[in-house]
C-alpha cells in the first residue's frame, strides 16, 4: 500500500467526521493499512506500521497522531501471537485493532462523564481555543441542566476560539470571546479553567495550543483550579524540561516544517505546561493527578 493511498485515506477519514480526533482518524487508517498489508512476517508488519505512522505524522504533526499510532501498535501486539499461520495472527491483530478503536471512540464520553460533575451550577469557566473534548464535557454539563457561562480566548494565529464560541452558542451556553492578552484580566471573574490537550507527557505536563502555559501560570497566581481533559491515547513518551526541549516536529504544522528553511522565524503552534501548574487531569483511565500520569504511562507502555 503506497504512501499516497495512505495519506488520501487519512484525509478522507478526517473530512468524513470533523468531530473525530485526528488521532482516531490516524488509527482508523492504520487499521485499514493492517488489513490491506501483504507482509509475510510479524516483524515486517510492525515495521510497516511504524512507517505508516511516520507518514501520517508527516501530514498532521500533532503529538496525538504519533502517540496514538504507537499505542495502537502496542495494543495489538499485546496478545499472544504464537499461532502458526500468519493470517490467523493478522486476524487476531485486526480484532484487537477494532477493539482498540471501539475503546477510544468511547473515551470522550467517559471523560465527559467524569468531568461534568466538577462544573457546578452557576459556574464561570475559562477555556482556551477549540477543543472537542472540552466541548463534549460542556455538552454533558448542559444536558445535566447546569447553568454556566464560558469565556473563550480567541487563540491566534488561527482564531480557533471563535469556532468554539459558535459551537457553544448552539448549545445555548452564554459565551464571551476574549483576547489572548486578556486572560489575566478575566481570571478574577472565573471559577475554574478547563483546557484540552494535544499530548500528555511523562512528567504529567501537557502540550497544547500556544497560550495554555500563560493561562496556567495566571490561574496558579489566582489560585483557580486548572483542569485538563484528555483521552488516554494522547499519552506520549516525551519528557520536556522546558519550552525549548519540546521537539521541533511537534511545534510547527507539518506543512511549515516541510516548506520553511529557517524555523526560528516561524511562530510555534504549541507550548508545554509543566505539571506543577495543573490541578487534575480527566482521562478515560480516571481522574489523575499529574504525578499519577507517569504511573499510568508505565502501565500503558511497559
Amino acid at each position: 500500500i503506497k504512501k499516497d493511498h495512505l495519506v488520501e485515506y487519512f484525509r478522507a477519514q478526517m473530512m468524513k467526521d470533523p468531530d473525530m480526533a485526528s488521532a482516531v482518524a490516524a488509527i482508523r487508517t492504520l487499521l485499514e493499512f493492517l488489513k490491506r498489508d501483504k507482509g509475510e512476517t510479524i516483524l515486517g508488519l510492525r515495521e510497516s506500521l511504524t512507517w505508516a505512522t511516520d507518514c501520517l505524522t508527516g501530514v498532521d504533526s500533532s503529538v496525538a497522531v504519533s502517540s496514538g499510532g504507537e499505542l495502537f501498535l502496542r495494543f495489538i501486539s499485546l496478545t499472544s501471537l504464537e499461532h502458526q499461520d500468519l493470517s490467523r495472527c493478522k486476524k487476531v491483530m485486526e480484532e484487537r485493532g477494532e477493539l482498540f478503536l471501539e475503546k477510544i471512540s468511547m473515551s470522550r464520553t467517559k471523560v465527559a462523564k467524569l468531568c461534568h460533575t466538577f462544573i457546578k451550577d452557576g459556574a464561570k469557566i475559562l477555556t482556551h481555543s477549540y477543543s472537542r473534548v472540552v466541548l463534549r464535557v460542556m455538552e454533558k454539563a448542559a444536558a445535566e441542566k447546569k447553568r454556566f457561562s464560558v469565556y473563550v480566548t480567541e487563540s491566534q494565529p488561527d482564531s480557533a476560539g471563535r469556532q468554539m464560541a459558535e459551537a457553544l452558542r448552539k448549545l445555548n451556553v452564554p459565551v464571551t470571546v476574549v483576547l489572548d492578552a486578556a486572560v489575566g484580566y478575566v481570571l478574577e471573574k472565573v471559577d475554574l479553567v478547563i483546557v484540552g490537550a494535544e499530548g500528555v507527557v511523562e512528567s504529567g505536563g501537557i502540550i497544547n495550543k500556544i497560550g495554555t502555559y500563560q493561562m496556567a501560570l495566571c490561574s496558579k497566581a489566582h489560585n483557580k483550579p486548572f483542569y485538563v481533559v484528555a483521552e488516554s491515547f494522547k499519552f506520549v513518551r516525551l519528557y520536556p524540561l522546558n519550552q525549548q526541549d519540546v521537539p521541533d516536529k511537534f511545534k510547527y504544522k507539518a506543512d511549515t516544517l516541510k516548506t520553511v528553511q529557517n524555523l526560528s522565524e516561524e511562530h510555534p503552534m504549541i507550548d508545554y505546561t509543566p505539571p506543577s501548574l495543573i490541578t487534575l487531569l480527566f482521562t478515560d483511565l480516571g481522574v489523575l493527578t499529574p504525578s499519577a500520569v507517569s504511573d499510568e504511562l508505565i502501565k500503558l507502555y511497559l
Partner: protein, 554 residues
Amino acid sequence: MSAEPSVASSSTPATQHKKTTRGGTRHFTEGGPVKKDGIQQAKTEGKELTKEEKQRLRKEKKQQKKSKEKKDEKASQESEKEKKPVSSASPASQPPTQPITPKAPSAVPTLVPVPASETPAPADKPAKSKAEMKAERRARQEAERASKQGKKGEVGQQAAPGKPKAPPSELQPVVKRLPEHVQVDNPEVLKKLAKKLERQQIPLRSDYGYKVSLFSHLHQYSRKAPLTQQLSIPSTVIHPAIVRLGLQYSQGIVAGSNARSVALLHAFKQVIRDYTTPPNEELSRDLPNQFNFLNQCRPLSASMGNAIKYIKKEISNIPSQCKEEEAKSKLLNCIDRYIDEKINLAAKAIAKSSIEKISDGDVILVYGCSSLVNHILCEAFEKNRKFRVIVVDSRPRLEGREALRRLVQRGISCTYVLISAVSYILPEVSKVFLGAHALLANGYVMSRVGTSQIALVAKAFNVPVLVCCETYKFCERVQTDSFVSNELDDPDDLIVTRKGKTQLEHWQEVPSLGLLNLVYDVTPPDFVDLVITDLGMIPCTSVPVVLRVKNVDQ
C-alpha cells in the same frame, strides 16, 4: 546460675527463660524463638559459646521443634518471611539480650530492609513451628506487654517491625523498629550493641568529640582511631578481605556509593571463595558478623544494603543438596551478574537517555564527584555534543577536584567554583546534573551534603535539575529531613591551617563548641525535575511505582 550451658536438659525453655534472673528489664513481649531462650540461659554470665556448643544447641532446638511440628510449609521463603519479623522483633524488645549469630542483629540497619535472618534451608521445618510457638507466646505476652508499655518509652521497643511481608498469622500493629545506629544517645541500645559485638569478637568503635545536640543520636568517629588499632581481629571471625575493606571505608580510601558497593561485592566474592562449609552450617550464618564489622567501620549505605539483600537472597535460594563447589561458583556468577547488570549496564543505559537531554551550547552544572554523572558527561562529549561544565565543590571533602580532573582529562572545558558562589554563576547555567546516594520511597533524593542547596537555588532560578540514579539505589525508606538518619564524619576534618595558624586546633577544650561535619542531605521532589534511571526517565514522584514494579518482578 549454671556454669555450664545446661541446655540439653531444657525441656521447657518457655518457662525457664522467665525464671532466669538475668536483668530485671527482660521483657519477653515478643515470643523470642525458643532456640534463643536456651542460649539465653547459657549466656547468663556473658560467656562465649564455642562453635561446637552453638552447633549442638541448634541441633537440640531443631529436634525439639521437629517433634512439635505438624504442618508442611510451602517454601523456605515463607519460613524466612516468618523469621524476619520475628527475629528482628525480639532484639527490639529485649534490651539486655543478645540475638544469636544466625539472626541478623539489630545493628544491621533495618532502614534498608535487610532480611533479619537467613537461616538456611535445613531449618525450614523447625522454623515454621517456631513461628507457631511464637504466635502462641505472643498472644500470651501481649497482655503483659500492655501493662509494661509505658516503662520502656523508647521508640525502638515496638511490636513486629513493618517489613514488607508481615507475619501472616499475626494481627499485631506493624511498626518498624529503629536501627541501632540512629539511637546512639540511648544508653540501653548502646549496651545491647556492645554486648552483641563483644560476643562476636568485633571491636566496638567509640564516639569521638562533642556532638551537636541535634545530631547526638548519630555516631561520630575519628579517622585517627581506626577500628583495627584497638584489637586484633582473628581471621576466624572476620575474613581479612573484609577487614581490609572496612579499613578502606573508614579511612575514606574507597568512597562514593558505586565504588563502595562494588568493593563490597568483590570482597564478598573473596569470602565465598575461601569459605568452607562446616558440617550442618551454611554461609549465611557468618554473614551478619561481617556486616556488623563493616557497619562499625562506616555505616552501610542504601546501595550496599540492597546489594547485601541480594546476596542473602541468592544464598538462601541455593538448594541445600547442592555441592559446595557448585554452590560457590553459582554465587560468584550471581554476584558478577549483579555488578554487570545493575551498575555497568545501568550506567550505559542512563548515559544513552541522558544524551538526549544534553543539547549543543548547554552549560551544565555538576556538584561534587559522582561516578555516574562523570560517565554521562564523558559519553556525551564522545558523541560530539558541544557543552561546557561548571563544577561546584565544597569543603571539607573537596571531591569536585577529582571530578574536575577527570573531565579536563577528556578535554571538556570546565569552570570550578565553590558552593558559596553558586547563586552567582547560576544565571549562566542551563541544566544541573546531580548524582544520588539513594532515592527514598517518598521521592526524596539522598545525596552528598550541599545537593539540596544547589537544587533549591536552581529552582529559584528556574533551571531544570536532573538526578541520575541507578535503580539498585532505590530504597524503601521514607525520610523528610536530613536529621533523623545521617552520617557524621570526623569533626577534625573541618580544622584548616591558613597562614601558619590553626584556629580550631583546640576546639575540644571549648565546652560550648561543636564541629559538625555532615555527610548526606535530602532533597525534596519539588526541586527535582527529572530522574534518569536505567528504566527510563521518570518524575521524582514515581519512585514508589518503580519499587512496586521491582517487587512484583521478584
